[in-house]
Every structure is written in C-alpha cells, then in structure tokens.
C-alpha cells in the first residue's frame, strides 16, 4: 500500500509514528511545566517495576482483545468502533450465565459456558450493524456508534433494576460464586511452585495469547481470511471473483464482536467477579489505537497492547509523583498515536523512503 519494502512498512514506520506521538506528548508536558524525560522515566518505572508487570499485562489483556476486534474488521476495511458496546454485552452475557446457573452446575462448567456467552453476546451486538451495512446500506461507523449508546442505556437499565444486587443502591450485580472466577496468575504460579506478586492478571491473558494465534491462522491460513483480505483490497474485485461479500462482512463483524465481548473475560470473570457499570472504560477505543499501531497483525497487536498496557499502568504512577500531571496523559498519548499512526500514517512515507532507500541504494 505504501510502496515501501516490508521491513520499512512494518518495522520502521510504526516506530517513527510512535516517536512522533511521544514527541507531541512531550510538548504538552513542557507546556504544563514539567520535565518530559522525568515524566517518561516515571511512566516506564511504574510499568515495569517489580510487582507492576502483572498490572501492565492485565491492561494489555484488555487491549489484545479489543485490538484484535478492531483489526479483524479493518482487514475487510470495516470500521468497527463499537467494541465498547460489544464488550458491555459480553459482560452481560457472563452475568446472565453466572447468575442463572452457578447454583445448578459445577463452577468450571459455568465458567466455560460464560466464556461462550461473552463471545456470543458480543458477536450478536456486532452482527446487527454488520448486517445493516451489508444488506441495508447503512454506514457501519454510525451504526456501531449508536449501538455503543444503546448498549450503555441497556446496561444502566438492567443494572439499576432487573439484575441489580438485591437490597443495594449501586448499579452492579451480586458477586458471582468463587467457583466461576478465572484463577489469578499469582495463584496459578504458586500452584506451580513459583512466588509471584499479587496482581489482577488472570487466566484470560493466556486466552488472549491464544486469540492472537487464532486470528493469525484465520486471516492468513484460511479461505475466509483470504476473502476478508480480498475485500479489504477491493470490494469490487472480491465480488467479481465470486466471494460472497455480504456474508463475509456479517461474519467478520460477528468475529470482531466476539473478540470485543471477550474483553469482559478479563474484567468481569477475572477481576471484578460481578457486573459493574462502565467496566469497558474506553478500552474499546484503545483497541483502535492498538490495531492501527500493530498494523492489523496479531504480532503487532501483541506488541502494541504491551505498550499501551505499560502506558496505562505507568500512567497511574504519575498521579503519585506529580502534582500537575495525571494519568490522563496516557489518553493524550493514545489520541496522538491514533492521529499519527492512523490518520497521518503516510505523511512521512515519501520522506522516509527517500531517506532510507537512497542510502541503501548508494551502498549497493
């Protein structure tokens, strides 16, 4: 797409864009009156200090799921910006299964059904916009935005009434039984004879890694993945080649929504152990940044998720260290990353090509 060699396109361009985003963030920090190097040092320390790594990976788990959701849709040039709502529905699926079956069925079995429900509910919330785009011509961006608000209204309604914890005023369900919780990593580590610091990191991190592998195989090793990529390159050509474009769009959105819904595995089944309002906390939008930075490739998404995980965990440290800088700086950086590696992705392409390629040509 860029006309650049692959190593430049995949290896260098994202780093250049990240550097630009950090540079712009540094300008903001200077304007606020702090030393950017000090701020970034605190960020890094906060993310990777002993005991903090678990938190970084816990945030990264959310971003892997929402990043994969965005990337899967991007492969077919679909903008799914409804990951936020799909994640909420995923949480709702988990809550329904856990609250209805945890007393009837054994815990692990309930957990398995709950995981399936998270994916299914998330998929259902994405299929409708997908179907409307494919068969009724409504724009998927607008529909998924509207579905975010619809999901949030649904959550407010359910959590402040029908499934609210009995005898309490706050919008949340009762705690699920301990049998359905996903085990925390530090407990699993202790079982294997290691000592690990307590953190919210749980089994869903491994699920996220499996999801990366699954998406890679799906996109580059199956007929469906080929169809998706063909649609992404040219819908017209794909249709001419006999690919059922409409059906592929609906299926792509279903899968995308399923991964977004799985974000709730980490937050609800792994950490909160109850359904709470606003648990998606904007992570659905972070997924867009992650997918853009990771160039829609699972390996890139994994790397970008770790970066954003570090940014969010390290950002929390800023509140303690500075009076004037708070963790919202992570949001600023996130916005800048989307701007530079998404909207302005190719601003520096010609410049980079000239700079690096002329040099390697001269050497040859």
């Amino acid at each position: 797409m860029t006309g650049l060699p692959r190593w430049l396109d995949i290896g260098v361009l994202p780093l250049v864009n990240l550097a630009l985003a950090l540079l712009a963030a540094a300008v903001v920090v200077v304007l606020v009156g702090e030393d950017p190097l000090h701020v970034f040092a605190v960020l890094l320390q906060g993310a990777f200090a002993p005991g903090a790594l678990g938190y970084t990976l816990y945030y990264a788990t959310n971003f892997i799921f929402t990043g994969l959701a965005a990337a899967l849709a991007f492969q077919a040039r679909l903008f799914n910006i409804g990951a936020e709502g799909q994640a909420m529905l995923g949480g709702l699926g988990i809550a329904f299964v856990c609250l209805s079956f945890e007393t009837v069925l054994p815990g692990p079995l309930v957990a398995v059904v709950a995981i399936a429900a998270a994916a299914l509910f998330g998929a259902a919330w994405a299929v409708v916009p997908g179907w409307l785009q494919a068969y009724r011509g409504s724009h998927i961006v607008i529909t998924t935005i509207m579905f975010n608000f619809l999901a949030s209204g649904l959550m407010v309604w359910l959590l402040s009434g029908p499934i609210m914890r009995p005898g309490q005023g706050s919008p949340q369900t009762r705690l699920f039984g301990e049998g359905v919780w996903l085990p925390a990593m530090h407990d699993l580590a202790r079982g294997l004879g290691f000592e690990a610091a307590r953190s919210p990191l749980n089994l869903s991190f491994l699920f996220a890694l499996l999801a990366c592998a699954a998406v890679w195989a799906l996109i580059w090793r199956t007929k469906f993945g080929y169809a998706l990529r063909a649609i992404g390159h040219s819908e017209e050509a794909a249709r001419y080649a006999g690919i059922p474009v409409r059906r592929a769009v609906v299926v792509a959105m279903a899968l995308s929504g399923a991964f977004a819904g799985c974000m709730a595995l980490n937050e609800i089944l792994g950490v909160q152990h109850k359904l709470v309002l606003n648990f998606s906390a904007g992570y659905g939008f972070t997924g867009i940044a992650v997918a853009l930075m990771g160039r829609n490739h699972p390996a890139g998404i994994l790397a970008a998720s770790l970066l954003f995980g570090a940014l969010f965990q390290g950002g929390a440290e800023l509140n303690f260290e500075f009076e004037t800088i708070t963790h919202e700086l992570a949001l600023v950086i996130q916005g800048l990353v989307i701007l530079f590696s998404g909207a302005l992705a190719y601003m520096f392409t010609p410049w980079l090509a000239r700079l690096l390629l002329s040099r390697s040509a001269a050497r040859a």
Binding site: I142, M146, I325, L331, L339, L344
Partner: protein, 324 residues
C-alpha cells in the same frame, strides 16, 4: 394560568435549553459533511470548547474572552482534522476518533495542571458567564393570554448562546443554499471532480467547511460551560456531539429537518427524567434509561431505510485526489 399550560411551557423551555448545543453541533456537522468531510469529532470539539471557555472565563473573569478561547480551541481541533483528512487524505473516521480521545485527555490534563481540582474548573460567578436575558416588553406582555406567557416564559429569558443556536439554522441554510460559496461547498461534497474542473479548489472549500464547523462547535462548547453550566466538569459533553451526529442523519443533512430532530431529541431528554416512577398502563414503570437512548435507536432504524431513507452527500468520506 392553568397548571397544564405551565407544565407545557416548562417542558418546551427545557427542550430549547437542551436542544441548543445539539443544534449548534448538528449545524457544524451539516456544513462539514456537506463539504464531504465526515465529522465524528463533534464530541471532541465540543468538549475542548467547553473546557477552554470555562478555563479562560475563570482566569480573566470575562465570558467574552471565554467564548473566544472556546472558538479557538474548537477550531484548532478542526484544523488537526483538516490537516489529516484534507491535506494528507487520511481516514476521516480514524482522525475523528483521534480528535475525540485527544480532547478527552487534554482537557483533564490541562485542567489539573491549571486548577488542581480533579479535572474540573472552579465554579463561575454570575458576571463570568452568559446570563439569561429578558427580551424587551416580556414583563409588560406577560398578562396577554397565551401569547404573553409564551413570549415571557419560552421566547424570552434565555442566554445569548441559545438565541445564537436558533439563529444558526437559517444562517447555515442561507449560506449553503443561497450563496455561491454554499453551492460550491455542497458540490465539493457531491461531485468534487466537477468543482475541480471548474477551476475551484476542493481542499480550500473543505477547509472552509470544517472551519465553520469548528466555530459552531466552539459556540456549543461555550454554551455548556459558561452559559448553561457554570464551570467545566470532566467529560461534560457526555455524548452530545454524537447525539448531534444522530440528529444530523435523522434530519437527512437538511437544516430544517435537522433542527426538528434536535428539538425532538431535546424534548425526549427533557421528558425522560419526568417519567421517573411513572406507571404506564400495561407497560408498568417507564424504563427511563431506555427512553433516553431512543434517539440512537430511531437513527439506526432510519439509516437502515425501514422508514424513509437518509442518503448522505455522495462524496462523503472520500478523500479528493486531483487528477493531473
């Protein structure tokens, strides 16, 4: 005055207040999208404007300085969007998402740095914001049956920016449908190639479109924090930019229908809290949370063409590549 009439006036009055920022943002979206640039960054511009207005009004004590800052902040974000989408032909959706997230983060970071108040600005005093204004003769005419109270309660007694919002509708209509600039701007959104071959610059037209959008969102932002409210609260735009986007689609990118959509959504917003605890026959208690998302559901249904059809400008979202 009968009780019901007072209630009706109160609801209509509330509708005007809640619709005002929607109208300004929807008109902003209308101008931008008619020129061919998708604007899902209305929300971010609104939020940035609200913060800048409150911050500068706090620092200077003047609402007019606040208004100026709000316009500047919103226009700056509009220019970022334009730089990405028009100059570099970037993805307009992605750029809009970036604008929204940037505004979300920047407002809180700068608010904390300036005021150390948890992302809020201090409450504004009466002289530091736009207060309600009584229109001439509103007290004298109040006793005239029906029309007098209508004038005194509904038409009079709003702040300056509410009037600006309602004025923006005929202004945008006139600008887009009664001037040469408007004709060209709409052509840039329908068939940019034709504009180009007539020797008119499509990028220049689109830049002007998003500049106007930036100014209108700036007005809406100032309305939120220094007219309707008295200070900035984090995330205070609370989805109004997206609701305006819904109204824009619901009104099919035409000024008058968009105005009605904004009023309808404003009415729903006014009525919803009053329905708390009301029992409807057969239905039971009204699910207020669901009433307030009705506008989004209606927009989805309209967009899907189940009743009527909303057809966007033809070149909407397509970057313009000049042929050589």
């Amino acid at each position: 005055m009968p009780e019901v009439w007072i209630d009706i006036l109160a609801v209509l009055d509330g509708t005007a207040r809640l619709a005002a920022p929607l109208i300004l943002c929807a008109m902003a979206g209308l101008v931008s999208e008619r020129s061919g640039i998708v604007d899902i960054g209305l929300e971010g511009k609104l939020l940035a404007g609200a913060f800048a207005a409150a911050a500068v009004a706090t620092l200077t004590g003047s609402p007019w300085a606040g208004l100026g800052a709000s316009l500047a902040a919103s226009v700056m974000l509009a220019l970022v969007h334009g730089f990405a989408c028009i100059t570099h032909r970037g993805e307009q959706i992605v750029s809009g998402v970036a604008v929204n997230i940037l505004a979300l983060g920047m407002t809180v970071v700068i608010a904390n740095a300036l005021f150390r108040h948890g992302g809020h600005t201090p409450a504004l005093g009466p002289g530091e914001r736009f207060s309600p204004m009584a229109l001439p003769l509103s007290e004298t005419l109040r006793e005239v049956p029906v029309l007098g109270s209508l004038y005194a309660e509904l038409v009079s007694g709003h702040n300056l920016l509410v009037y600006a919002a309602f004025l923006s509708v005929p202004l945008v209509w006139w600008l887009l449908w009664r001037t040469r600039f408007g004709l060209r701007l709409r052509a840039a959104g329908e068939m940019p190639e034709a504009v180009d071959s007539a020797g008119v610059s499509v990028p220049a037209l689109r830049y002007r479109g998003i500049l106007i959008a930036g100014l209108l969102c700036g007005l809406a932002g100032a309305y939120l924090s220094i007219a309707h409210g008295a200070g900035f609260v984090r995330e205070m735009s609370a989805g109004k930019g997206f609701l305006a986007l819904a109204a824009l689609i619901f009104g099919r990118w035409k000024p008058l229908p968009v105005l009605f959509a904004c009023l309808l959504f404003g009415l729903l917003d006014t009525v919803a809290p009053r329905l708390q605890g009301v029992d409807l026959p057969l239905v039971g208690p009204v699910p207020v949370a669901l009433v307030s998302v009705l506008p989004y559901a209606m927009t989805v249904v309209l967009l899907a063409g189940f009743f009527g059809r909303a057809i966007p400008p033809r070149a909407l979202g397509r970057p313009f590549v000049k042929e050589h």
